[in-house]
Symmetry: D2
Subunit: 317 residues, 4 copies
C-alpha cells in the first residue's frame, strides 16, 4: 500500500505493451501528471507530440491475462488555468451534406491547428470553465467545471499497440463523462503487469465529445490500483456511488449497446453480484439507463448502467 510520486519524462500515443515507467503493487497509490491532448503540460509548453499522449504504462506486479485491474480515480485536478476546444460539431455527427456556417473569424490558438481551436479559462475555486476566444455570449456565461479523463486503459489483447485516438476492450479513448474523480474503473487484464496508461484530461465535456474535444487540459492525478486475481471480464466496468456501469466500444453505436448490455448481464449474474438471470433481465428491462461516450473517434462508446441501490435491494430480497 505504498504511495508513489511519479514525474513522467516521456509519453505514448498508443496504448500497448510498452516498457513500464514504474512497477507498483496492488493497493498502491500513484500521484502523477498528464499532458493535454496536444502534448502540452501545466506550463503550456509542448513536451511531446500531439494525439492524446499517455502517461505510463504502470506495471502492476502479479497482474496477468484473465485478471481484473481496478483503478480508483482518487484525484483528477486541472493543473493549469486554461484549456482549449474545437468549435464545430464534427461532420460525422451531423446529417450527411449538412454544412454549418459561421460568422466569426476565429484565430488559430496553436501552430498545428487544422481547424481553429478556442481557449477557455478554467477556475478551480469558482468551479467554472468559460470561453476566452471571441466575444460571443459564451464568453460571458460560465459553465460548470467537471473534470474527467478522456483516454486511459491497459495493454490490449495479443500484444497490440492501439492508437490513443480509438478504443476497444482495453479501454482507450472513450471520452465518457462518468470517468470523473471518485469513480473506480475496472479493466480486463491482457498483458503481464496490466500496463496501465492514462491521459487526455478534460475540464468538462458534453456527451459524445461531438466537437472532437472537451476542454482539453493537463491534470494532476492520483489513482490507486487494485488487482482482482482470476476475475475475467470482457469490457471496462465502473462503479461510482450511484451506478454500476458497463462500457462497449465499437461502431456503430448499436454494437456498443450490444457489448455493454451483454457485459452488464454477465456482471449482474456473476458470482460477485449473484442475481438470477430472469431477475437481471427484468431489472435491465425496466430500470436500465444508457449514456453516450465518444461519437467522434474511430470506435464509439455507449455505457449501460443500473443503480447500485436497486441491485442491492434485489440481492437482499
Amino acid at each position: 500500500m505504498a504511495h508513489h510520486d511519479f514525474t513522467p519524462d516521456h509519453y505514448h500515443t498508443t496504448i500497448g505493451w510498452h516498457d513500464p515507467v514504474l512497477e507498483i503493487d496492488s493497493g498502491d497509490t500513484v500521484a502523477t501528471t498528464t499532458v493535454d491532448a496536444r502534448g502540452r503540460d501545466q506550463t503550456g509548453e509542448r513536451v511531446t507530440p500531439r494525439g492524446n499522449p499517455m502517461t505510463g504504462p504502470f506495471f502492476v506486479r502479479g497482474a496477468e491475462e484473465g485478471d481484473t485491474l481496478i483503478v480508483h480515480l482518487e484525484e483528477l485536478t486541472p493543473n493549469r488555468p486554461w484549456g482549449w476546444t474545437g468549435g464545430q460539431v464534427a461532420a460525422n455527427v451531423l446529417e450527411p451534406g449538412f454544412t454549418p456556417e459561421f460568422h466569426d473569424n476565429p484565430k488559430p490558438q496553436f501552430d498545428d491547428d487544422a481547424r481553429p481551436s478556442f481557449r477557455w479559462n478554467v477556475d478551480l475555486e469558482a468551479g467554472t470553465v468559460q470561453l476566452a476566444t471571441g466575444d460571443g455570449p459564451m464568453t460571458r456565461t460560465p459553465i460548470a467545471l467537471d473534470p474527467m479523463v478522456g483516454c486511459f486503459g491497459v495493454g490490449p489483447a495479443g500484444g497490440q499497440a492501439i492508437s490513443t485516438a480509438t478504443s476497444s476492450t482495453h479501454g482507450g479513448n472513450m471520452d465518457y463523462r462518468g470517468f470523473r474523480q471518485g469513480t473506480q474503473v475496472q479493466f480486463p487484464v491482457f498483458a503481464p503487469g496490466a500496463l496501465f496508461h492514462l491521459g487526455d484530461g478534460h475540464a468538462t465535456q458534453g456527451d459524445g465529445e461531438i466537437v472532437g474535444t472537451g476542454v482539453e487540459i493537463s491534470f494532476a492525478v492520483r489513482f490507486k490500483v487494485e488487482l482482482i486475481k482470476g476475475r475475467r471480464i470482457g469490457w471496462p466496468r465502473a462503479l461510482d456511488d450511484t451506478w454500476m456501469m458497463a462500457v462497449g466500444n465499437a461502431r456503430p453505436l448499436d454494437q456498443c449497446v450490444q457489448h455493454a448490455t451483454t457485459e452488464m448481464l454477465s456482471w449482474l449474474t456473476s458470482e460477485e453480484i449473484g442475481l438470477d438471470s430472469r431477475t437481471a433481465h427484468h431489472l435491465l428491462g425496466q430500470c436500465v439507463e444508457y449514456d453516450l461516450g465518444n461519437v467522434f473517434d474511430p470506435a464509439y462508446t455507449m455505457v449501460c448502467k443500473i443503480r447500485r441501490d436497486q441491485v442491492d435491494a434485489l440481492r437482499d430480497a
Copy 2:
C-alpha cells in the same frame, strides 16, 4: 379553447392519413383513453388487435404541411392496476450468438404470447410497479411508477401509413422515457389537420425498451394541442421544465445522433431561439446530453438535449 371528452370505438395499428375521429382547434384539450400494446383496455378486455393500437387520429383545424403541432401531455394516468412486460433482453441488443439461459418456468399470460410475458401490479397511490409473476426477488422489490407514452405521432409525409412498430420524422414508436406527463412534444405537420394519434402507454420503462416492452398498460390521457403556423421543423422536438430535446429515429443509432443533433442545431439557431452558429456549436460541444429511446424496433431513437436555463442564459448574455 374547448375541452373534448372522447371515447374511442376503433383503433389503428398504422399512423396514417386515416379518417379523423374528432376535429379540434388549436388550444383545445382532449380527454380520452388508450389501450395497451396488445389492444387490452382498462378492464383487461381485448377490444382491438395487438400491435400498439392508436387512439385517433385527431384533426386539428387549419394544420397543413409546413406547420408545427405542439401536443402538451397534460395527463398520462394508468387506468387499471396491472401491466405486463416481456422478460428477456432482445437478441438485437445482445452480442450476436449470446443466448441467455433462464431457470424459471414462466407461464404465458396471454393466448398470443410468442414468448412468455409477465404481470406487474401498478399502484398509483404508492407510486410503484411490482412484478407479480413468479417468486423471484423482483416480486419483493417495487420500482418507481413513471408513466410515459411509447408511440404517438402525426400523419406521415406523402400520404404514408407507417406501422406503429416503428418511427420516423412523424414520431411513432419511439419509446422514450422523456415523453411523460408535463412534457410538450412538437411534431412536423405533413397531413391536412396534422392527424394526431397516440397509444402504447407504459407504467414505467428502462432506456431502450430492451425487453421489447415497458410495463404495458392502458391509460387515461389528457392533451392540449397548439398549432404553430408556418414553422417547419424536421423531427419531433420536446420541452419539459428542464430540457430542450430533439429526436432522431433511424438505424443505426449513429444516424439517430446525426438527425437529432442537426435538428437541435437548427432549433438553437432558429429565429425562435436566436443563438449564433458558433455559440450553438460551443454549447452543444461542452454541454449536450443524449438519451436513448427505443433500440428494439425497426427504427431506433436517440434524443439530443440541452438545458433550457443554459440556453436562456446565453440569450440574455
Copy 3:
C-alpha cells in the same frame, strides 16, 4: 393465362393497399407502361408528381397473406430516346465532411432540379447510353444499355402505405441491377390480391445508385404473375438463368446482409430446394456472393446470391 394491355391514368408515390387498377389471375400477362422517377412519360411530359410514381396496383385474384407472388419481368424496354441522371455522388456515400468540387457549370434540365440533372441519349438499337449534357469525355464515350426496374413491390404488411423512396420486406425502391429483363422476382404476399406496383425504370445504373439516380427513363413493360399458395417467404427473392438471389432491405448494410443471408438459408433448406442445413452453410461459406443495391435511400439493399448450377449439383449428389 390471359393477356392484358393496361394504360395507366394515375400513379402512386406510396406502395400501399390502394384501389387496384386491374384484376388478373395467376398466369396472366400484363403489358403496360411506367413513367420516370419524376413522373414524365414517353413523350417527356410530366403526367404525375415526382417521386418514383408507380403504375398499379394490380390485384391478383386469390392472393392472400402467407402466399408468394412471382413476377416474371418479360420485357423492360425504354420507350423514349433519353433519360436523365444526377451528377454528384451523394454525401451519405462519401466520408463525412468530404465535399467534391466541380469545374463545370451544368444547366438545370428540369424546373424542379434541386441539384443540376444531366441528360443522356438512349439508343436501343446500338444498345448504348451516352451523356448529352456538357462537353466532357463522357459525352464521347457510350456505356452499355442495361435496363432494370428500380422500384416495385407488393402491398406491405399490416395495411401500411410506404413511400416509394424506400424499401422493406414488400420490395420497394431497391435499385438493384439484377432486376432486369428475364429475371423472376418473388414477393411475400401481405395484402389481399397482393397489390403489385412497379415503376422507376433505369436505362442503366451503377451499383448502389450512388448519384441518387440511374439513367431515369420511362418504360414499356410486360410481366407475368404466378401465385404460389401457402408458401410464406420473408423477403423478396429472385431467379435468373444463373443465380438464386435473396434480398435484404434495411440500414445499415450489415442488417441487409443479415436479412438476405438468413432468407437464403431458409430458401436452401426449404422443401422447395431441400438441402440439409450443414450443406447449405458449407455452400454459402465457400461460394456465396453479395451484390449491392441502393445505398442512397432511407433503407439500403444487399443481395445474397448463389449459383443455381451449384445448388442443382448438390441436390443431385
Copy 4:
C-alpha cells in the same frame, strides 16, 4: 531487382512495427511461405500459435510515410493437399436470434476447435476443393480452386500493432476474393521500410468469409515490391487486368462504402489518372460495382471498383 528466397522461422499475429526479417529494394522479388490461420505449415504441423500468423515483415529500403508500396502477387499456391473451414454461418451475419440447427455430428479436426472444423481436399491439378468431412452432398461435389490471400498489409500509422483479426488503412484481415494471383495491391506507407506482412491463405472462399474461414491453407508465395515515392494514398488500392479497386475497412459496411468510394474518387481525379471531377462522378454513378470482403471480423471490408477499359476510354476521349 534481386530475387530473395526467404524461409520464415517466426511469425506475428499483429501487423506492427516489428523487427524486419529481410531488407529488400523496390523491384525485388521474394519467394517465401505462409502458414495457415492456425499456424500450421505445409506439413500440417503447428509451428506458431493460431490467429492468422504473418510471415514478415519485409523492410523496403527507402520507404517512408507518404509513399505508396505496390505488392505484385505473382504466385499464390497452396503447398499442401488439404485445408479446413468452419461449418456454420456466423451469428453476426444472421438475423439476431436466428439459431440454425444441424443434424450431423462433426468431429473436431483440431485440439483447439471451439466449434467443429471441417477438412477439405485441395487438388491443384484438377483445380478443385472438396469437402472431406462427413458424408453429405458437398463431399461429392467439388468446387473451384481460387487461391487468395486473406490477411496482409503494412506497418500501421503511428507505430500501432494491430491484431491480424482485423483491418484498417494499413490493410490487414480483409478476406477479399479479389486478392488473388496476378493482382497488384497498393498500400499507404506509414512505417519506415513499409514493413510488409502476409499470411492467411485460402484455397477458395465465398464473399464475406461468412463462416469465419475460407478453405484455410498454407501457401508458397512469390511477390514483387515496387515503391512509389511521394504518392500518398488513403486506403489500400488494387489493380488486376480488368478492374481498378479501392478498399474500405470499417464498421458498419456503410462506412466501408464511404471510405472506398471517396478513395476511388481521389484516385480517378489524381494526377495519375487525371479525370475531371464531374466525369469521375458520372462514371461511378452509372458504372461502379462493389464487392464484399470480410463481414466476420471486427472491421468489415467493401471494395469499390471500376473497369480499367472504361477509365482508359475516358482518358483518351
